[in-house]
Symmetry: C2
Subunit: 340 residues, 2 copies
């Protein structure tokens, strides 16, 4: 039995092995991804992002427990930590999770640490998500630490994106909030038993008012219509207004409501055609990233390292501008002809 057929048959050990191959971008992993690809496209990909300290991990845990108990869904969690490899944050997160979710054969948790560049991490995350999708997990939760543009890019892999906030994380975090409001389908104010929750919720709601119509709404729907009840869909002019929720994830408070809103969003995606639109843009981004990688590795094969270092040295010496260097490296024949 091949590794991929074992994975498709539900073999957990084979899955673990394949994930490692795929994460490390091994040749065998790439071949397996190609084989598995026709089995993908079924899982509901849920992105969860937000600043450190908002309690994302425990929210993801509680949602996973809910999906398991109420909906009998198979759930995979991909915890992405773009911070330094030496933080050990990913490993710690795993341990905390163990207590609640350990031993459930229909839950799989995979932590991914930094691999030098955000681009590489986004690529590896996309591949790992594909494997879970093919392996028959109904829901794949993609959790990212941080709320920078790069983390937002990773969250964009998802069909449904949750942005998590918490009261009292600083007085002027508007810049980040505004940036991620664009990608939020659900806004969760976690740690809602803390002081300041009303202010945080009010700020989020008034920013939502300001932020609409967002570019994404315009792109997919053309028209903007303000719904009276956040989170509801309007069948005549389909559009989704991000819903705002309060949770205390350590106590499970508010989790059923968030899960219900996620289910509503999925229904909206299916009815509105937004599912297909998001699949398209997701795969388009992935294809482009792969093309970039392939072009670059061909370039490295074609251009001898010695030649590259020579040109780089001329740039460092300010004898050649970076743009001239690129042209020289990409058109070696043109230059050698000229110099004859």
């Amino acid at each position: 039995m091949t590794l991929t057929s074992s994975v498709l048959a539900g073999d957990r050990l084979a899955l673990t092995r394949l994930l490692s191959l795929v994460e490390n971008d091994a040749t065998e992993g790439r071949a397996a991804l190609a084989e598995l690809f026709s089995h993908t496209g079924k899982a509901h990909l849920i992105g969860v992002t937000g600043a450190p300290g908002t309690g994302k991990s425990s929210l993801v845990n509680q949602l996973t427990l809910h999906f398991r108990r109420q909906d009998k869904k198979r759930v995979a969690i991909v915890a992405v930590d773009p911070s330094s490899p030496f933080t050990g944050g990913a490993v710690l997160g795993d341990r905390v999770r163990m207590r609640d979710l350990a031993g459930d054969p229909d839950v799989f948790i995979r932590s991914m640490a930094s691999r030098g560049s955000l681009g590489g991490l986004a690529q590896a995350t996309a591949s790992v998500v594909q494997v879970f999708d093919a392996a028959g997990y109904d829901i794949v939760m993609i959790e990212t630490v941080g709320a920078g543009q790069g983390e937002v890019d990773i969250a964009r892999l998802a069909h449904t994106t949750l942005v998590v906030e918490a009261p009292g994380l600083g007085d002027d975090i508007q810049a980040i909030k505004a940036g991620i409001l664009e990608i939020a389908d659900l806004l969760v104010v976690n740690k809602a038993d803390r002081p300041g929750v009303e202010n945080t919720e009010k700020a989020l709601k008034s920013m939502l008012e300001l932020a609409h119509p967002t570019q994404r709404v315009f792109k997919h729907h053309g028209t903007y219509m303000k719904a009276d009840i956040p989170g509801t869909t309007q069948s005549d002019k389909m559009m989704w207004i991000p819903s705002v929720h309060r949770t205390v994830s350590t106590e499970g408070t508010g989790i059923p409501e968030v899960a219900e809103s996620i289910a509503k969003h999925l229904a909206y995606l299916r009815q509105s055609g937004d599912w297909t639109a998001r699949e398209r843009s997701r795969l388009e981004v992935e294809l482009e990233a792969l093309i970039r990688e392939a072009l670059m590795s061909r370039f490295r094969e074609d251009v001898p390292a010695k030649r590259y270092d020579e040109i780089l040295e001329r740039v460092i010496q300010r004898n050649l501008s970076p743009w001239e260097a690129v042209n020289t490296l990409l058109d070696p024949h043109r230059e050698s002809k000229r110099s004859k």
Copy 2:
């Protein structure tokens, strides 16, 4: 007089025009960058990063005032805001700055907003920094909002990197701190008149202990030696231990000490050879980014849009895996030969 020679001659209006050309990646801007490149490599590039709410902008303002008054340096500030274009944060920052620095002909402030992707923003920032360098600014401060991996990548453009913290920004922001400790040359606890400053400083110092030896130290120096006084350089085994400072930037408190430590770091960079090493890695990263862009734009020229959309559609239909799609797109002849 050409635009570049006007810029080299100190014409502020020409500089403004060139910055716009360069930011928008116009053909004329690229040509100008190539012309100006031989004039670069002199400015001291100082990166300032940290979470929103730490008071980075006012710290940058105060440092700029100090460099102007004490050292008579010409200073350019590049304020990079990777968050959404609709936040208007960049513009607001400009207004706040106006009061202190307006009217000084030897200060130039340029705000850069998001351009869709972090890669694009990093590239545009690098180009703008090059223009200021060529135009004779002694110091270019690169300020980024946020502290995600992407923002850290932008801060890496600098020779000297300041990481700004503030007391009371949340209880478990260790993940971010650990990640950026690697790139910090100076750590500044701003808003040091707030409660909790001792804890923040203590946490930073103990994390510094843990973080050393960092990879960068090993890479450039081979050996690790713990200095007793942070911020001092040891001429026998040159290495830099990040210094920790307290400031209240709104009142100017602690600014001279930070400026002094920046000057010490510059001296260290020159003596240790680290200046050259950082220049090399900076230009290497930039060259690679340009090669990627050039390869991708050639690919777009070579592959007809219709063909690309056809292949993408097959991926969306799960008839072709992304990897197979890349190979098909990159080797059209191989496939057409096979299909014959």
